[in-house]
Symmetry: C2
Subunit: 184 residues, 2 copies
DNA sequence: GGGCACATGTAAGCTGTTACATGATTAA
DNA sequence: TTAATCATGTAACAGCTTACATGTGCCC
């Protein structure tokens, strides 16, 4: 996938739902796609400029002075469909948690326990967040169109978080349970 | 965590098990940490040079002409312990699969089905790979020391892959099951 | 002698973040 | 009036990949 194509996909995606300013594009990506996607302003503004240059998005005046509202064009929708049909780029794995676990012998039990506690609490708050999003999902204007897809992405997050919780429990038992049983 | 600290952690980590050439460092990272970590030569050689400069690793002659064997020093081991104790950097999420699912309305059913098929087969082959690694794990010289930690990282991969398989099944049912039942 | 695995390193370039700079609008 | 939020943009830099350049040693 070409340069910035992934960012372009996300930007075109949110603009396919609603006309937005650059600022709102970021808010939409953060609040709606936030549990599996991220973009910074430093990516969004240049990408929007590029999309306008390529005729995939048109720029109109916004509600306030100096603000610009972006609207996806017909060719923008076509490009979005094309981008979505390409196989997802899987990013090279870099899991700092598992790196620490693997070399866990160089870590004392306390540090290892802290690590597992953190994972557990993070997975727990993720589950809470997903549950909140799920409760509010029906109020979103895009619900009738995207609701089922949105729920599928939430479900992926839930299953991943639950798997993490199970892993923490297993790993605590395997690596941290003190040998309390006296030998025969 | 400072510049290149994550790469340095991985490199110091594999050198804490065994003395290696740069080439072997990469092989070790690929084969042993490969299911959750990745480094390219472009990162490894400059990092090794930096580690030598900082006295964390010493460079000795290798088995062949022009090859260099690196050995971790006492301060290198101390640094590794320190690096491992720092909280893992969680990379910003960028899940191309979920991005495509979220905007799945812009995708026809066939493309969606292909996407889910790919995830399923990838998760399946991951499980097969983990199972193979698990079978060979006892033969590795580092097994007595790292075996339990290694197994914990494998288990994380297995649970994640199983969660993905469950998600695919659920998502197929939710998004792709044709409405075959006639209405009352 | 040809091909492959071993071995080292650099340079160019892409992606993305962070910090900075600027200013308008609104609510307390 | 002052703080927060809305809004746009750029510059510097960090991190990483890829391609390139170079050569050794072994096996067929």
């Amino acid at each position: 996938m070409a340069r910035q194509a992934q960012t372009a996909t996300a930007v075109l995606g949110v603009l396919s739902i609603e006309d937005l300013t650059g600022y709102e594009v970021r808010q939409a990506i953060t609040s709606v796609l936030g549990h599996f996607w991220h973009e910074s302003f430093g990516q969004i503004y240049p990408t929007l400029a590029e999309l306008v240059r390529d005729g995939l998005v048109s720029a109109g005046p916004g509600d306030r002075a100096r603000s610009t509202r972006y609207r996806i064009t017909a060719s923008g929708r076509a490009r979005l469909r094309k981008l979505l049909a390409e196989p997802p780029e899987s990013q090279a794995p870099r899991n700092g948690l598992l790196l620490r676990i693997f070399f866990g012998r160089s870590l004392d039990d306390e540090a290892l326990a802290d690590l597992l506690d953190d994972v557990e609490s993070q997975a727990g708050s993720k589950l809470a967040t997903y549950s909140e999003i799920r409760d509010g999902i029906g109020d979103d204007p895009s619900f009738p169109v995207h609701g089922r897809y949105w729920e599928a992405t939430l479900r992926a997050g839930e299953l991943a978080a639950e798997a993490q919780l199970r892993w923490v429990a297993e790993t605590r038992a395997a690596l941290l349970t003190p040998a309390t049983l006296p030998p025969l």
